[in-house]
Subunit: 422 residues, 2 copies
Amino acid sequence: MFKLPRGTTDFTPEEMEKRRYVEEKMASTFKSFGYREIQTPTFETLELFTAKSGDSIIDEIYAFSDKGGRALALRPELTAPVIRFYIDKLQMEPKPLKLYYFGNCFRYDRPQKGRYREFQQAGCEIIGADTPEAYAELIAMAYNILKNVGLKNIKLNIGNLNIIDSMFTKIGLSKKDKKKLLPLIDKSQFEDVLSLLRDLDVPKDNAEKIIDVLQTSDIIKVKDFIKEDQSVKDELSNMEEIVDLLKNSFNVKDYQIKMSIVRGLDYYKGLVFELDASVLGAEKQLCGGGAYDLVKLFGGTDVSTAGFAIGFDRAILALEAEKFAFPSFKTDVYVIPVNEEMLVKSTEIAQNLRKEGILTDLDILRRGVGKSLKYANSKNAEKAIIIGPKDLEKDSVTLRDMKTGEQELVKIANILSKLKNN
Amino acid sequence: MFKLPRGTTDFTPEEMEKRRYVEEKMASTFKSFGYREIQTPTFETLELFTAKSGDSIIDEIYAFSDKGGRALALRPELTAPVIRFYIDKLQMEPKPLKLYYFGNCFRYDRPQKGRYREFQQAGCEIIGADTPEAYAELIAMAYNILKNVGLKNIKLNIGNLNIIDSMFTKIGLSKKDKKKLLPLIDKSQFEDVLSLLRDLDVPKDNAEKIIDVLQTSDIIKVKDFIKEDQSVKDELSNMEEIVDLLKNSFNVKDYQIKMSIVRGLDYYKGLVFELDASVLGAEKQLCGGGAYDLVKLFGGTDVSTAGFAIGFDRAILALEAEKFAFPSFKTDVYVIPVNEEMLVKSTEIAQNLRKEGILTDLDILRRGVGKSLKYANSKNAEKAIIIGPKDLEKDSVTLRDMKTGEQELVKIANILSKLKNN
C-alpha cells in the first residue's frame, strides 16, 4: 500500500465542500473591492526566494533541480512570485492595480496540527497606492473576508515599522542592535527586550518607555514618545487617518494599535497588521500583511506595494473551532428504475432534470427500490423518483419525500415544477 | 530580473476569469451527476507513479528527494493519487462512489503551444459500478461537461480494449506481439500495423479484416469478426447498450465506434473513450477515459473503477479557437470623492454597496473626477458615483452612466434601488 507523503494531506468530499465554500466567500469579497484574480506556477527559480529571504530559506523549502540543471523550488509563499509576474507582464497596467490569488505553498516544517508541508494561502497585493485610504481599504478587506466566511471572533492589530524604527534610532540603537531586538519583540518577550536594552546601555527610563509603547494600544502614548521626529509624525497622523476610516466608514470595531508587530521579514516597511482568531489559542494568527518594498529589489520600477496573506487552512480550523454551520451536501433527486426495462426512460428523466440545474443521481447498479433508497439516504437525497411500468403507462412516476416518506404519483411533465415548488 | 521557470506560465486576470468560468461550469456538471470533489497533494511518493507506469516514467516527471531522503515526484496525473487516497480512507464509503477533482499536474516535456510543464486537469472516478448504464452515464457526463463549458464541435469516440485483445488472440498473437502493435494502432499508423502483421505471419486475409475493424465505425463489422467468442460477445452487447443509452436517453449524437483507441496505458481494460475538439487540429484530444484496474495493484480490495481526465488548458484553447464569448470583467460602480473631505462618507457609501453584493471600487489616489473616470473605464465600470460637498448637503450624490455619460442626482438612501433596477 502506498502512503501519503509525510506532512501532506488528502481532502475528503466533506472537507472540500467546506474549502470551496470558504474560497467562494473569500473570492467574492476580493471582487467586491475591485480586485481581480491571477495565478503563478507552483514552482519558481530558487533564486527568486533567496533574493527575497536570503540563502537560509533553502533549509525551509523544497528545492530541487530539473533535468536541465536549473535550481527550482516549490513556492513557500506567493508574494515573490506575484511581484515577479507584475514586473514581467503587468507594469503597464493602470494603477492602482489590485490583484488577488489562491495558491498552494510548501514548507519543509515539522508537521503539526494545522501546519502541513503543503498548505493553501489566499492573498492579495495592491500596487501603486500608498494613501491612508488605500491602506484602510486593504485592512478592511482582510477583516471583511474573515467576517464574510463566517468567523465571529476576529481581532485586528495594527502597527508601523517606521515608527518602531524611529523609536530605536532616537535612543541611539544601531541597525545591528535592532536586528537583535526584533525577534524578541515579535514573540512579545518584553522581559528579554528590557534586559537586552539594559545590556545595550539604554537608560532605564527610556527602556521602560519603549516597553510601554510596545505594549500600549493608546496612540497618544506613541505620539508623546516620538513627538520631535517630523517624518514619523506624518506616519503617525496617517495611522490615525487609517484608524478613523476603519472605525467610521468600514465599521471595524475590534481593532487595536500594537507597536510590537514586526513580522520578522526585512522587506516590510511602514504599515503592518495582523488578524487573529482568538478561538485558536497559540496558533491564532490568520492573516498578516502591510506595506513592503520588493519591486525595486526584483528589478522593476519602484512603486508602492502592500498586501496580505491569509492562512486558508487555519481559517477553516478557526471556523470549525467556532462551530460554524457549513452548508451540508445534498442530492436534490435520486432516480430509481424498478427494473432494467425502465432504464432508458429513467435515464432520460434524470438527464432532463440535470439540465435544469437539479442535482440528480440515478441507480446504476440495478439493486431494487429498498437498497436504492438506503443509498439515496447516504447521499442526503431530498426526493426520490421511483419509475415503474404501471406508473409509466400513465406517463407518471412516484415522487417520494425522503424525509417524511410520503409518496405521490406525478405526471412526468410536472416533475420539474413539482420539484421547484418544494 | 527574475524569470518564469521554463515551460510554465502565469495567468493574467483576463485568463483567470476564463479559467474560473470553465472550472465553475465543469464543477456544476460533475455535481449535477452526483459527483463530489476531493483533493490530493501536489507531490506523492515516486514509487506510486513507477508502480503504475513503470520506471521509464521517471524520465518524464519532476522527481526529487526531500531532506529526509524520501523519493518524491510532482504528480504527472491524478488517477494514481486518487486511487491511493481511496484505498487509504474511502474504501468503506457506499458504492458507487463518485469523485471528481481539479489539479495541477507536471511533466518534463518539451514545451510547445498548449503544452506546459505545469498543466491543469479536471477528472473523475466512479468506483464500484461496471454496468452499461454506469459507463453510459460516465461518457455522457464527459460530453456534457465539454458542451456546458460552451464548446460546439465535440466528437466522441468509443472503443473497447477487451474486444481488441480478443481479436488479436484469435489470430494467434502473443502478448509480446500485441505490445508492439498497440503504439502503432494508437497513432493510427495502419500501414505499419499491416506490415507488422505480415512480419508476424498473420494470413493476409485476417490482417486486412483486422485493419478493417480497427477503422470501421460499424459495430456490425466488429460483431462479425468476433462472433464465436462468448465473453467478448457480452462485452459487445454491453457496448451496444451503452451506445443506445447515449443516443436515446442522453441525446448524444456526435459519437463513433473506434476500435483503434488503445490509450497506451497498461491499466485500462474494457471500455475506452475519447472526446476531441476538431477545431484544434493535431492536438485535438480534450478528454480520455475508460474502465481500468488499479485498486488491486495498489493493494486495495478489487473493485470496478472507471474515470476520465480532461485537459483543462486545452479545453480553454478549444473555446478560444471556437471564438467563444467568455463573460467579460466588469465593475458595477466606481465611487469618486471630489476632495479629501468627502473620503469618509464616500468610503462608507462604497462599503454599504459591497455588502449588498455590488462590485464597488473607489478612488484611493485623490486624483480628481476626470482621471478617476478614465480609470473607472479601464475597469469596465458601469456606473460612477461622484460625491461632492454641495450634493452631500442635500444627502445626494451624482450617479453617472459610464456608457452614455448621462448623470442624475440621487438621494443616498435610493442609490441601491436605483442600481438594482438598472
